[in-house]
Amino acid sequence: MIKIEAIVRPERINSVTAALEQAGCGGFHYQNVTGQGTQRGVEVFTGRGAQMVRAAGSKTLVVTVVPDDLKDAVVEAIIGAARSPDGGRIGDGKIIISRVEDVIRVRTGEHGEAAI
């Protein structure tokens, strides 16, 4: 099994989770993070509004563990839902893929793909 971690724009999270379900991946969790990359972040005021600074932007991190064979479908689904209209904008995010040794379902104690 592999773990797919996708950093996406917060405003895209609903379409991303919908796409995941469509791609046959019904299990995932997500959370807000603060992120920076090529995109240098957003401009915000400090103090009383006299000056602005760049702050890393808000992103949402979605994590799902899937069987290997689902990998490409899920990656496609995420890209489709997370990429900004007309060819994407800087800051659309990344997808990080890594290997998982085992998954256990707390309720039943099942192991491996059966637990997903």
């Binding site: 917060p10 405003e11 807000n32 993070v33 603060t34 915000v44 005021f45 602005m52 808000s58």
Partner: protein, 404 residues
């Protein structure tokens, strides 16, 4: 000058001023976290813009001599109103100016509920100036100025059910139509405690709004205070119970909305009805506005925070109910129940006239603002996605230490 009446009206004016921040939090809690600052500012900035407009020409247009349709500019800058000039009843004229100003501040703020999360802030500033001048001032003149044609017709609107709520409700429909649907409507309220805080401040401030509208600390004012509280309570309870029965849970936002609906509905009636009337008006508001919201969510007009369903419908119900439940022994005018069915007609007339005028003129104002280069009604879709807090105000509402 009566120091007692003056004392109460100073207090009442402060209470009504506080309603606008109350509304800011009520609305602010209902939107997404990324638009809360923007929503708060739509209301807060009205305290800044309208206060200035009011002392310059707003009051004069609303309460200056003039015609049956609108006042004149004879009182521009409150010229000629000395600090010792007293209204009959015994409060300083400047205090009447202040009290009325607070109503002018909150009315456009109410409208903003229709277009939160997408309306362009700079355009909104211009809208505030224009709308107060050519919509609010005339309507206030019609209903409350001694020359006003609806006033002459004997329309009953003790504290502004028509001038404030019906007026704002129709303007909200016009705005929602022109601004269009949000890209992603129907979100969960992001902060329910803010909604409760806002509702509490509105309830609190509304005592000034209604019990102050008699401009005196007397029996009529006291009665207005009592029926205001009673109607708010009855409506909150009704809405809550319906929500419980229909869904098995009692939405706090629903109870808060019910309270507001009750407060809206009792506003025009508060100087004319008694406790039983208040219970009926409140319970009625709870049922009617709940249904109105329910229906609204099934149509395509994205009046995001239900301004029409709560303030419009609530205000209409209140205006009509005033004609039904008015008690001669309280406000001097009998309602339908006491046999004066004619009053009902006058009430409906006032409502219809206000609805038509407010809707048409607001529509016109927004159409014009939309095409003026540099203005325009709606933010870019990018700004809407990122949220107006960052896009329009350069701020994030909530920042935790390291990460957020």
């Amino acid at each position: 000058m009566d120091s007692g009446h003056t004392a109460w009206m100073l207090t009442a004016s402060a209470l009504v001023l506080l309603m606008t921040p109350g509304l800011a939090f009520f609305y602010g809690g209902l939107v997404r976290a990324r638009n809360v600052i923007s929503t708060l500012m739509y209301s807060f900035i009205s305290m800044a813009v309208v206060s200035v407009v009011w002392v310059l020409w707003g009051y004069s247009l609303a309460f200056g001599e003039g015609s049956a349709l609108i006042g004149d500019l004879s009182l521009f800058g409150l010229s000629g109103i000395g600090i010792d000039q007293v209204e009959d009843g015994g409060i300083p004229t400047l205090l009447f100016v202040i009290f009325q100003m607070m109503f002018a501040i909150i009315t456009p703020a109410l409208i903003t509920g229709a277009f939160v999360e997408r309306f362009k802030f700079t355009t909104y500033l211009v809208f505030l100036v224009v709308w107060i001048t050519i919509v609010y001032a005339p309507v206030a003149h019609w209903v409350w100025a001694s020359e006003g044609w609806l006033f002459k017709d004997g329309a009953l609107d003790f504290a502004g059910g028509t001038v404030v709520h019906v007026n704002a409700g129709m303007a909200a429909v016009a705005a929602a139509l022109l601004v269009g649907k949000r890209r992603d409507p129907g979100a969960e309220p992001h902060n329910v405690p803010y909604v409760v805080l806002g509702a509490a401040l509105l309830w609190f401030g509304w005592f000034g709004f209604n019990a102050g509208s008699g401009l005196a600390a007397d029996g009529v004012g006291v009665n207005a205070f009592l029926v205001t509280n009673t109607a708010a309570a009855a409506a909150a309870l009704t809405w809550g119970v319906i929500s419980q029965v229909q869904t098995g849970r009692m939405s706090a936002v629903g109870v808060a909305s019910g309270a507001v609906a009750g407060l809206v509905a009792i506003t025009p009636a508060s100087g004319f009805v008694g406790v039983y009337g208040a219970l009926a008006i409140g319970a009625g508001a709870g049922v009617i506005c709940y249904i109105a919201v329910y229906l609204r969510t099934r149509i395509q007009v994205d009046d995001a925070l239900e301004v029409f369903a709560v303030h419009g419908v609530g205000g209409i119900w209140g205006a009509i109910a005033t004609g039904i439940f008015a008690v001669a022994a309280i406000g001097g005018t009998a309602g339908a129940i006491e046999g004066n069915a004619g009053q009902l007609f006058t009430q409906v007339l006032a409502v219809v006239a206000t609805m038509a005028y407010s809707f048409v003129v607001t529509l016109a104002i927004l159409k014009v603002l939309d095409i003026i280069p540099g203005l325009g009604l709606r933010v870019s879709s990018e700004a809407e996605d990122v949220g107006l807090d960052i896009a329009a105000h350069g701020e994030r509402a909530f920042v935790s230490d390291g990460a957020d």
